[in-house]
């Protein structure tokens, strides 16, 4: 099995390196095909590993020592267990799809080879992240995906907005990474190891505050990657990257790394339910917070990004409440339909010549039938309509909140579910229904390459069936490792009321969205100029606040530090000392005026001064002696 493990792990790297060799050369489809092929290999290996794990085994290998000094020993160790194999499946599936899709999507881009190199490198990092058997190995992947995210968001580096967004993403993640490092430090100095098995086996012996702090710091790390409030702004801006990147990195895989971390570290979080509750509360807040911003946004990709953010909130609610398997399950399901949604959006963008405002689209269902179907499917899944994936995963989280008697969370999530349905279908309606507003802009849309649609098909299938079909086997498998808690509402009546009620609520929201946006778009000036609309539209002014409170002052402070402190104080003091000495010389060397008379006088003055001192000393000496007598 080790062979499959290494194959699954390293084939993306091989692909990336080979594609990277052609990075600066002209486009060769070869790189796209090669990397996709290698990812398929990785996928197949993962499937084999999955069957192996489903049979009840796990694979744990230690490739080689990485860092060893003092008592610290960190190997490159990889583990394929129930949790990581789930993640591997998600990652390899979505990334294979995205790779194939990208061959079409990026076919006209100059940086084709480079793109595939980066994309495969990302997959490799993500695999390291999920497969590592220790925290620092996870951190390698953690930072690796950050790097690839930076590369890919800033892929069109000639665009100022893209490079800015790339840097923002990287730096914001770094803030969280610091917390994560601190968490790792704490683990090491308290337990002497960073291996998962050792840490989890001994975590309970630590005093409560220590565990709490470890949990908090690790979670802050997770917040960065998963773009939780207040580190969320980068995710929306990250949409500057090519759309397949958004699908893979900023929807399906990388952003869920935070959830994965919490799930992986469940023995830690199980010890500290209070922190778990806080996580859940933050998750619920983010779920709603992001959904509200999605309600009014006018940028197709950003809407989906906020939706992702919102769904991540859901996952954190589940994870925070201790329903780790539920969180992971929603993670998986979400990966499929959200990636699908993004890829569909990519088709639309292509068709619309990179136009992102859905208000300038409309009526695309005629020219882009398949895309319409796929995106609608994905939206339905996202909204959580039975029997699609979202129903099984998302509604389960609602149930978890309910069963755990967090009714506030439950209500928030329920309302958010309605919003989710609304903004998803608002988007679908605006894009595919109604007037062909894009004609005004002289755009004649066309459907994407067929093979791109085929590539999306597996995701569509998964979006439909993954909930219904996978739930039981997944549960059986993953609870080998994660706490097996069934979240059943024991009262049947309540269960049915809730399920049907939720479904109805969601469907109503969908209907409202269709009603409002499917025919003609009426712009309600009054609403739009209202405070709430503006607040939401401007993302609660948070980016602006960050800019004013952090970015600009930091730059100004930096300039101050350089021009005022460094040059005018620190350096000036040093130069000042030197100059003072020099100037003293310039001022005083005139005593050497060359005149013999004054030279003689200096001698006599010297003598007289010495004499005076001698007299003074003698007087003092005698005075002391007299006293002594």
């Amino acid at each position: 099995m080790e062979l499959y493990l290494y194959t699954a792990l390293f084939s993306p790297l091989v692909g990336s390196l080979i594609a990277g060799l052609f990075g600066a050369s002209r486009k060769t489809s070869f790189t796209g095909l090669l990397t996709s092929g290698l990812l398929l290999t990785s996928f197949i290996s993962s499937v084999i590993l999955l069957t192996y794990v489903m049979a009840g085994h796990t694979v744990h290998v230690e490739m080689m020592t990485w860092i060893a000094t003092g008592d610290l020993y960190i190997p490159f160790g990889f583990v394929v267990d129930q949790v990581s194999v789930t993640m591997m499946m998600v990652v390899t599936t979505v990334s294979t799809v995205v790779h194939i899709y990208s061959i079409g999507y990026m076919s006209h881009d100059k940086g084709f080879n480079r793109f595939f190199s980066y994309l495969s490198a990302f997959v490799f990092s993500m695999m390291v992240l999920v497969m590592s058997d220790n925290f620092l190995g996870l951190f390698i992947g953690w930072e690796g995906v950050g790097l690839c995210s930076w590369l890919l968001i800033g892929f069109w580096y000639h665009k100022e907005s893209a490079t800015w967004a790339a840097n923002e993403a990287f730096i914001m993640n770094r803030i969280a990474d610091l917390a994560m490092l601190i968490g790792i430090f704490m683990i090491y100095w308290n337990l002497g190891s960073l291996q998962y098995d050792v840490v989890f086996a001994h975590i309970s012996i630590l005093p409560m505050p220590v565990i709490t702090w470890i949990g908090i710091f690790l979670f802050i790390g997770a917040m960065g990657k998963s773009a939780q409030f207040p580190l969320h702004t980068w995710l929306a801006d990250a949409m500057e990257g090519p759309t397949p990147v958004s699908a893979l990195i900023h929807a399906a895989t990388m952003v869920t790394a935070g959830v994965y971390l919490v799930v992986r570290a469940n023995p830690i979080y199980s010890e500290i339910p209070d922190v778990g509750n806080a996580i859940a509360a933050l998750g619920a807040f983010v779920a709603m917070f992001a959904a509200t911003m999605a309600l009014v946004n006018r940028d197709m990709k950003r809407i989906i990004a906020y939706s992702t953010l919102s769904q991540l909130g859901y996952m954190f609610v589940a994870a925070g409440l201790g329903a780790y398997w539920v969180a992971l399950f929603h993670l998986m399901a979400h990966a499929f339909f959200k990636a699908l949604l993004f890829l569909g959006a990519g088709n639309v963008m292509h068709a619309m010549h990179d136009e992102l405002d859905p208000f300038k689209m409309g009526g695309l269902k005629t020219s882009m039938k398949w895309t319409w179907i796929l995106m609608t499917l994905a939206s339905v899944a996202l909204a959580g309509i039975y029997p699609l994936a979202g129903f099984f995963s998302k509604d389960l989280i609602l149930e978890v909140a309910f069963v755990e008697q967090h009714y506030i969370l439950y209500s928030v999530l329920l309302i958010t579910a309605g919003m989710t349905a609304f903004y998803s279908f608002r988007l679908v309606a605006l894009i595919f229904h109604g007037d062909k507003r894009h004609l005004e802009h002289g755009i004649h849309p066309h459907e994407a390459y067929t093979f791109m649609l085929y590539a999306m098909a597996p995701l569509a299938i998964l979006a439909v069936i993954s909930g219904m079909v996978f739930k039981t086997p997944y549960y059986l498998m993953v609870t080998e490792l994660l706490p097996a808690v069934q979240y059943h509402i024991h009262n049947h009546t309540t269960f049915w009321i809730m399920t049907i009620g939720t479904q109805l609520f969601v469907i109503l929201a969908i209907a409202y969205a269709y009603k409002k946006y499917a025919k003609a778009v009426k712009v309600d000036k009054k609403v739009e100029s209202g405070f709430f609309y503006q607040l939401l539209y401007n993302q609660y002014y948070i980016p602006k606040i960050y800019d004013e409170v952090f970015s600009k002052p930091y730059l100004q402070l930096s300039k101050l530090a350089w021009k005022e402190i460094d040059l005018k104080i620190v350096d000036a003091i040093v130069d000042g000392i030197a100059n003072t000495i020099y100037r003293t010389g310039e001022k005083t060397h005139t005593m050497q005026n060359g005149n013999l008379s004054s030279m003689l006088r200096w001698m006599v003055i010297g003598l007289v001064v010495l004499l005076v001192l001698a007299v003074a000393f003698t007087a003092g000496y005698n005075a002391v002696n007299l006293q002594a007598m």
């Binding site: 030197a578 000495i581 020099y582 003293t584 010389g585 310039e586 005083t588 060397h589 005593m591 050497q592 060359g594 013999l596 004054s598 030279m599 003689l600 200096w602 001698m603 006599v604 003055i605 010297g606 003598l607 010495l610 004499l611 001192l613 001698a614 007299v615 000393f617 003698t618 000496y621 005698n622």
Partner: protein, 501 residues
């Protein structure tokens, strides 16, 4: 009725005067040669002087072996005192003189070397310095000092430029004043103790427990002023830059070494017993003088525009640095003094000889002194070897290891640290840092600036084989000093320790 004086010749121990007598005989020989035939080439006199100096050195070294066997030798009614200090300083004096005298063999003609009297005076001067260090009798010191000084004034004047005369007059006048100080100081000490021999004075003072402290300080003050002049301590230093500038570079280099070492030995004899006897005043004053001399001259050296003048100030600073040894007064520090000065003599003579080599007969337009910094700019392009050697001397003077002076500085600072003068050690160290600036300035000009066309033809004008040899010796000594330090230290420690210092 006068009693017949009966003194056995053996008890006189006339041989104690042998080294000085050799120098005097040498001088007389040169004068007699000139009597028989005048107009002989200077190389003859150089060689004759060198020969006599060699004999002189031989005699001194011979005394060294005697000293190691039998200890201190007295002679001539206890006027002569041949102890370790005397021997060490005489060696430095004679060796430095031997390095100096070939510098007369320049390729350009200079006025003074045409006179055999120049060489005769030179030898008289050496005899004077030797007398000065080989006695602890104030009269003898006075005679030696004045013999040497009067000869030196003349040597300076013989350079025959108006600046030289000015320098000679200034030096002479101030020297006369210092002589007055010395005489007066001696008189005061004589009045208190009734003796003019330093060890007698010390004994006498110790006996009545410095009862007349006020008068003692009065006497010391005058002697301090006199030696402050000789050793160019601030504020008695004012003659130094002018005299160095006025005299030829070679003589300036010589002056920075030999008169100083003679002065140091006398100062050691005079002041150290006082420092050890707990005359706090002297400790404080010496401390101040050392610090002020080091620092002030360094600061003035910073702003000089002429290399020779800069080196003059730098010599003052080095003297101040070494004066710390007398303040500290331990065997280690006194050893350090001689070590420092031995190493310094090579480096400094080398540096001044480099100036001497580049001496031009006539100044070009706009040139106000012989050796402005600009003259050296871009030397690495025009004469790489010369530039490297000059840089070597500068680095050594700055105390950059492993060159000669570093070892001296290190040992001196070590001595200060060992005797508890930590702050002084820090001041000494920091002064080396300030000093580094002006030495660097020359390096900057030589290595980092473009050559100036105007000075193009004025380099190495004065070079001759013998000058180059001297520079070579100095350079080798400077670079490989590290090898010499250990034997030097051992010998010097032996001599100094056995002399009771």
């Amino acid at each position: 009725m006068l009693e017949p004086i009966t003194v056995s010749l053996a008890s006189l121990n006339v041989t104690t005067m042998a080294p000085m007598l050799i120098a005097i005989v040498g001088a007389l020989t040169i004068l007699s040669i000139d009597l028989f035939k005048d107009g002989l080439h200077k190389s003859l006199y150089v060689m004759v002087a060198l020969l006599f100096l060699l004999l002189d050195l031989g005699a001194v070294v011979d005394f060294g072996t005697i000293f190691l066997r039998n200890g201190t030798v007295l002679g001539m009614f206890n006027m002569m005192l041949i102890d370790g200090l005397a021997i060490l300083s005489q060696i430095i004096i004679v060796v430095a003189s031997m390095l100096f005298i070939p510098l007369a063999l320049t390729s350009k003609r200079f006025h003074e070397y045409n006179y055999p009297e120049y060489f005769a005076l030179f030898l008289f001067m050496i005899a004077g310095f030797q007398f000065m260090v080989a006695t602890d009798n104030l009269i003898m010191i006075f005679i030696g000092l004045e013999t040497a000084s009067l000869a030196l004034y003349t040597l300076i004047a013989l350079h025959n430029r108006s600046k030289s005369f000015e320098a000679a007059v200034k030096y002479f006048t101030m020297g006369a004043l210092a002589a007055g100080f010395f005489a007066f100081g001696s008189m005061v000490l004589y009045a208190i103790t009734g003796s003019v021999e330093i060890n007698q004075i010390a004994l006498s003072l110790a006996k009545d427990e410095y009862a007349n402290i006020g008068y003692v300080l009065l006497g010391i003050t005058f002697l301090l002023a006199a030696f402050g002049f000789k050793l160019s301590m601030v504020p008695f230093h004012t003659w130094t830059p002018d005299v160095y500038e006025g005299s030829s570079a070679a003589l300036a280099g010589y002056m920075s070494i030999v008169p100083k070492v003679a002065g140091f030995v006398v100062a050691m004899r005079l002041f150290e017993f006082l420092v050890h006897s707990g005359v706090v005043w002297l400790q404080v004053i010496l401390y101040i003088i050392v610090v002020v001399t080091m620092t002030a001259s360094n600061i003035w050296a910073l702003v000089q525009s002429d290399v020779k003048r800069m080196l003059a100030y730098s010599s003052i600073s080095h003297a101040g640095f070494v004066m710390a040894a007398i303040l500290i007064g331990s065997t280690q520090s006194n050893t350090g003094l001689f070590l420092y000065w031995a190493l310094f003599s090579f480096t400094n003579l080398g540096a001044f000889t480099m100036l001497w080599v580049n001496r031009q007969k006539n100044l070009i337009a706009g040139q106000s002194s012989d050796h402005p910094y600009e003259k050296f700019s871009g030397m690495i392009r025009t004469m790489p070897m010369a530039a490297v050697v000059m840089a070597l001397f500068m680095l050594s003077l700055a105390g950059v290891p492993p060159f000669a002076l570093f070892w001296g500085k290190m040992y001196m600072i070590g001595a200060a640290v060992s005797s508890g003068y930590t702050v002084l050690a820090l001041i000494m160290a920091l002064n080396s840092a300030i000093a580094a600036y002006y030495y660097l300035k020359l390096i900057v000009f030589m290595f980092m600036k473009e050559p100036m066309a105007a000075y193009g033809e004025n380099y190495l004008l004065n070079a001759s084989l013998s000058l180059k040899t001297i520079i070579g010796i100095a350079a080798v000594a400077t670079i490989f000093a590290v090898i010499a330090v250990n034997p030097l230290l051992k010998v010097i420690t032996l001599f100094v320790y056995n002399s009771g210092y």
